[in-house]
Symmetry: C2
Subunit: 340 residues, 2 copies
């Protein structure tokens, strides 16, 4: 066993890259009507899923998604050494109540919508470092609980500007292991907080874009990879506006990603047909797209090397009410089908 290799300021190259041995995704009705519908394990008819609140429904979605991923990995709950999970709700109650009954040692993480890449990074380090044989990384979000948390209760019927994003109802879970034959997590680039002063909570793509560009740029600087090494460079939920800004910033820094750059928030909905404005967002967006669509394409060989970057806007209603700007963060992981 050899130690991980630090590359540059923000990246580590794993020496015992963990395999993504199984994934699962459960999404809401609207996500199940979008372009990626065939890749999700389960599509819910009803956002409450028999629960008495949206928050309890979100916890159930996370719990069932994690359980499904573990089952698909042919493992029992007791085989999982750690779970890394987090969500958007205050005090991360989506996760805490979601995994309460699972009896798995639990590390709660919070990175807003960057959580999937964060939990995946830490889970991968756990396996690579020899601390665990099986680790789960998971996140969730729910349109209705997020609206209540960050904007208004749905009953208020607030108008959404075109820059607004649509929080995905869904969860994605990945089981990582030191066993298995890929896809592998091979590199981890961990983001710094970047805040260029955007204050509009209805334009989070713009707030997160500088952080996304910063992490992607650092990734190439640190690793020596070039964009063409990747079949796909996919951010978490910048959606239309943030994606374009990120591409512009990278272009100005001499990094042209236009050939292979897209965003989970653009993939999950057909914005024009589904009235989702700038596109999808929420922890569950990049999580369900990774666990559903991307994992399918990787295991089918349509994609061989991707850079998966989840992006988070680290605001709260309190920080917004106190006039603060919106700090962004983005974490990236390289996923490869074969070890070079």
């Amino acid at each position: 066993m050899t130690a991980a290799k630090r590359l540059g300021k923000q990246t580590v190259k794993l020496q015992n890259p963990p395999s993504m041995v199984a994934t699962a995704s459960i999404v809401g009705k609207k996500e199940g009507q979008g372009p990626l519908k065939e890749y999700f394990d389960q599509i819910l008819d009803d956002g409450l899923w028999g629960e008495s609140s949206w928050e309890k429904a979100e916890s159930k979605i996370l719990r069932e998604t994690v359980s499904k991923a573990i089952t698909k990995a042919n493992k029992a709950l007791g085989d999982i050494n750690y779970i890394f999970a987090g969500d958007l709700l205050s005090q991360c109650i989506g996760s805490s109540f979601g995994i309460r009954e699972l009896e798995i040692p639990f590390f709660g993480v919070y990175g807003a919508c960057s959580t999937m890449a964060e939990s995946l990074s830490l889970a991968a380090m756990c396996v690579d470092g020899g601390f665990a044989d099986y680790v789960v990384a998971a996140t969730s979000s729910h349109f209705c609980s997020a609206e209540r948390q960050f904007r208004f209760p749905l009953e208020y019927g607030g108008q959404r500007p075109p820059t607004a994003q649509w929080t995905v109802t869904g969860s994605g879970a990945v089981v990582l292991s030191n066993q298995g034959s890929g896809p592998y997590i091979t590199h981890i680039t961990t983001g710094k907080i970047v805040d260029l002063g955007i204050k509009d909570a209805n334009n989070m793509g713009a707030a997160m874009a500088p952080a996304a560009a910063d992490t992607i740029y650092a990734h190439f600087e640190d690793t020596g990879f070039i964009p063409d090494d990747y079949d796909l460079i996919i951010t978490g939920d910048l959606a239309e506006i943030g994606k374009n800004i990120t591409e512009d910033i990278l272009q100005k820094n001499g990094c042209n990603v236009s050939r292979q750059f897209t965003d989970c928030g653009l993939k999950i909905f057909d914005n024009k047909k589904q009235d989702t404005h700038a596109g999808g967002s929420g922890c569950g967006c990049s999580a369900s797209v990774l666990a559903g669509y991307l994992y399918h394409e990787l295991t089918q060989g349509s994609l061989n090397q991707i850079l998966f970057i989840s992006t988070g806007a680290l605001l709260s209603t309190t920080s917004a009410q106190q006039g603060e700007s919106i700090p962004g963060i983005a974490h990236a992981v390289t996923i490869q089908n074969t070890l070079g």
Copy 2:
């Protein structure tokens, strides 16, 4: 370099135990009048510290504490590979805004008041696994921001029952490194969520006690250590009621820790003189006690081996309003002066 060794279900024994090369703690006025006052780096006269809100003050306390710890380690911000931090505020704004300017790759964690042991666990794994040379683990809490978040704005003047705890205003930060001569983090026992149905948010000690007992019991089961191997077994912030319940549960399971068991929430205040009811709480409680008092005693040799267990109550106002009980979690790390 050898891989970490898994012991039992919840523990890893580190093979390249990181050193706590420096710590720092900054606390509020009330904490600075308590029994541990001589061990803190800085005591604030004013809870706002020149800021316009309690939340901004909390962020400043965290930022200054982290900066001070890094300075005391004779390092620059750019030498720190990762920072793990979290706090009690919704969307962890204490941490996000606190470390925004530091430009250090950031993993946000959320474990309520278990956060210090959680961030310390992950930071230690990062160093042990070869992912980093220098990592900071930090948390904060603030009496006034926590009251506003979880109970009522201070102006409301709500009555506090005797079971209530007093959220510590303060922050603690630890710099871990693969260099240095101890104290070392040698074992990590990661907690599962335990929820026995307590619903009284004014009695969080009772809600967290079963989780604390569960993790301490698992630690002894996994490692083969016995209580007498430790000079001190110290929980995060169970305070008086939770500490007694934890001791009882352990006793009933044949584990007698009465000789060396105490709690950071009991150490930091003189409850009778300071009117702090059951004792201190908040992420900053165990963090500042570790970074101040415990680190001093370890480096002076008054303590040689301690089990440090931070305990968290994973509730939110939303979960409480929806009638949910309070899930608890506790994470433990062994700190040793010499490697056996």
